[in-house]
């Protein structure tokens, strides 16, 4: 299970990096989401395999670490807001240039 999770996270990461390196800005934005999800899973797995009982008071068995879960919740919210913001910026850019090819969005070069 540990190995499988690690491989899945690694795969997600690789896909994200591949998308980030594409020229299309929308693909790049999707790559960003893949990476942030890979990181959320990584952060989650930091506390996942110490125990299986949830961290209630009086819980029996080995309690899993609740802190990474709280961190992941915060990180998910932030990355979702960030993704919405990136998409709205992309919307403005793509309507202005009529393309989402990063080689043709050249306003800043001059």
């Amino acid at each position: 299970m540990n190995l499988l999770t690690a491989l899945a996270i690694g795969l997600l990461f690789a896909a994200g990096i591949f998308q980030i390196l594409r020229r299309n800005l929308i693909r790049a934005a999707i790559g960003l989401v893949l990476i942030s999800n890979a990181i959320n899973l990584f952060l989650f797995s930091v506390g996942a395999y110490n125990g299986i009982a949830a961290a209630y008071a009086n819980a029996t068995g080995q309690i899993s670490d609740p802190l990474p879960q709280a961190l992941v919740l915060t990180a998910i919210v932030i990355s979702m807001g960030g993704f919405a913001f990136v998409l709205s910026l992309l919307y403005v850019i793509s309507t202005r240039y009529k393309t989402s090819d990063s080689d043709q969005v050249t306003g800043l070069k001059n």
Binding site: L32, S36, I39, N40, L67, G82, F85, V86, I93, G107
Partner: protein, 489 residues
């Protein structure tokens, strides 16, 4: 409880100014009042820390230290906070007198106050994850402010910045995860103790590498800087002054915390990396600034060079060089904010609103006072006595001589002469070249840059208080156990 007001006042302002979005004048006055009050609270905090000689710490929700969120105003935090709030207050004064369209938008002040909150929180927090959250607040508000700038390319610049910063946040989270899996805590003091006890846990060095990468991106250090000139040149003037003087300092602050607290004594190659990147940054930023055709862009490149000096100071790591880096950080914030404001004020007086040299050439003819300020600021940037930039460079060079680092010293010494070239060139272009299209025109008010330049002149003529304060901070940084004990008791 004196830690909270500097953070809560701007935070409170965010919803309040949003409610007052229809009443422009009240909104702007309220934002300015809150920021000045926050500056007052910071001064009170500084006085408390200096008189008691101990940091002021608050455990939010009264959860004891390693479990809850800690806000702590230790000497380093309070030093950075003083710098941030002085410049932020000037930024709000500038925004109140700005003629840009962007300051009329209802969300300008809420976002600007959010930026102030993020900066304050990032310096005050004693917890790695809270630092991440406040860094995100800075990134989002800064990007949104730039996206709505008058500059046509603001959106592109904001996209670029936001994208890179999100990747930096990704590295930050990876670093946080790596350290948490090795040590099971994110409180800076607790983490520093556990790292010192067992520096060879599996993912420690990975965590250090991720955090270093994060702070290098945040600080726009040489190979990670490609978003910075675009972003700082496209932002609204009041905001770009904050971005180029304060927001990049979050990276410097983070590196200081890494080298003097979290990984004190275990940093391995990091100091040498910082020195090399700093030296390259000084060269690259200097020549980049000399090669641009836009006053704001020139100043953005110059930030790259100046951050290089701070990194060199941190990399050498002797008490004197750390103090020099701190003094440099403080002085650079004042001068760079004032210079960007002056460049923006001249752009607002040009025929077309742009800081490009083709447009602003000769505009200064009718504004001699701004010219005096720009020349003083430029000389401070170049490190000419009797301005504060001279003190910062003198301290850096002196600490380099003491640490016997002659090669980097010679390189940055020569490269820093380029500063004089581009500063004087832009001054001559704006104030002395003839331009028939330049007409007397009202523009942004000059109160804020005048205040900042007066402050830098004052700190050049009487630098002793600032240097003494920086040395006090360095003494504190020299012994990480002081910080740890003050939080964990």
């Amino acid at each position: 409880m004196t830690v909270l007001p500097p953070l809560l006042l701007p935070l409170l302002g965010v919803p309040l100014t949003l409610f007052l979005r229809k009443k422009r004048k009240i909104q702007s006055a309220l934002a300015l009042t809150l920021m000045l009050a926050a500056l007052g609270a910071t001064l009170a905090l500084l006085a408390t820390v200096l008189t008691t000689g101990e940091p002021v710490t608050v455990q939010l929700g009264r959860w004891p230290a390693p479990f809850g969120i800690t806000l702590t105003a230790d000497p380093l935090a309070v030093f950075m906070l003083l710098m941030a709030h002085l410049v932020l207050a000037a930024g709000f004064v500038y925004a109140a007198g700005s003629t840009e369209k962007v300051v009329q938008y209802p969300t300008f002040y809420p976002l600007f106050l959010a930026l102030a909150t993020g900066l304050t929180g990032a310096f005050l927090t004693g917890d790695l994850f809270t630092l991440f959250v406040f860094a995100e607040v800075i990134v989002i508000s800064g990007a949104a402010l730039t996206a709505m700038a008058d500059d046509r390319y603001g959106v592109e610049a904001a996209y670029k910045y936001f994208y890179i910063s999100t990747l930096a946040s990704a590295f930050f989270l990876l670093g946080i995860g790596s350290l948490h899996v090795s040590y099971g805590t994110l409180n800076l003091a607790d983490l520093a103790t556990r790292i010192a006890e067992n520096p060879s846990a599996p993912l420690t060095m990975a965590g250090l590498a991720f955090l270093t990468a994060t702070f290098l991106i945040k600080g726009a250090v040489f190979p990670f800087h490609f978003w910075q000139p675009d972003f700082h040149a496209a932002a609204p003037t009041a905001v770009s002054a904050m971005l180029s003087s304060l927001v990049v300092k979050v990276g410097v602050y983070g590196l200081l915390r890494l080298t003097t607290l979290l990984f004190a004594g275990q940093t391995g190659l990091l100091p040498s990396v910082l020195v090399v990147l700093g030296v390259v940054g000084v060269i690259y930023g200097g020549f980049g600034a000399a090669g641009t055709h836009n006053a704001k862009r020139m100043l953005a490149y110059s930030t790259l060079a100046q951050i290089g000096f701070m990194l060199v100071g941190i990399g050498w790591g002797t008490p004197l060089s750390l103090a020099a880096a701190l003094v440099f950080t403080f002085n650079h914030a004042l001068v760079k904010a004032a210079m960007l404001m002056l460049a923006g004020a001249m752009a607002s007086r040009a025929a077309v609103k742009s800081a490009s040299f083709e447009v602003v050439v000769g505009v200064g003819k009718y504004h001699p006072f701004a010219g005096v300020l720009f020349l003083l600021g430029g000389l401070a940037l170049a490190g000419v006595p009797p301005l504060n930039g001279f003190i910062s460079k003198l301290l850096i060079f002196w600490s380099g001589v003491q640490a016997a680092q002659y090669l980097p010293l010679a390189v940055i010494g020569v490269a820093s002469l380029v500063t004089l070239v581009y500063v004087v060139r832009s001054f001559v272009k704006i104030w002395f070249e003839a331009n028939p299209e330049a007409k007397p025109k009202a523009g942004d008010r000059l109160w804020a840059p005048a205040f900042l330049i007066a402050l830098s002149l004052g700190l050049g003529l009487w630098s002793q208080p600032l240097v003494a304060l920086a040395q006090y901070v360095t003494d504190w940084l020299g012994d990480p156990s002081l910080y740890i004990l003050s939080i964990l008791r």
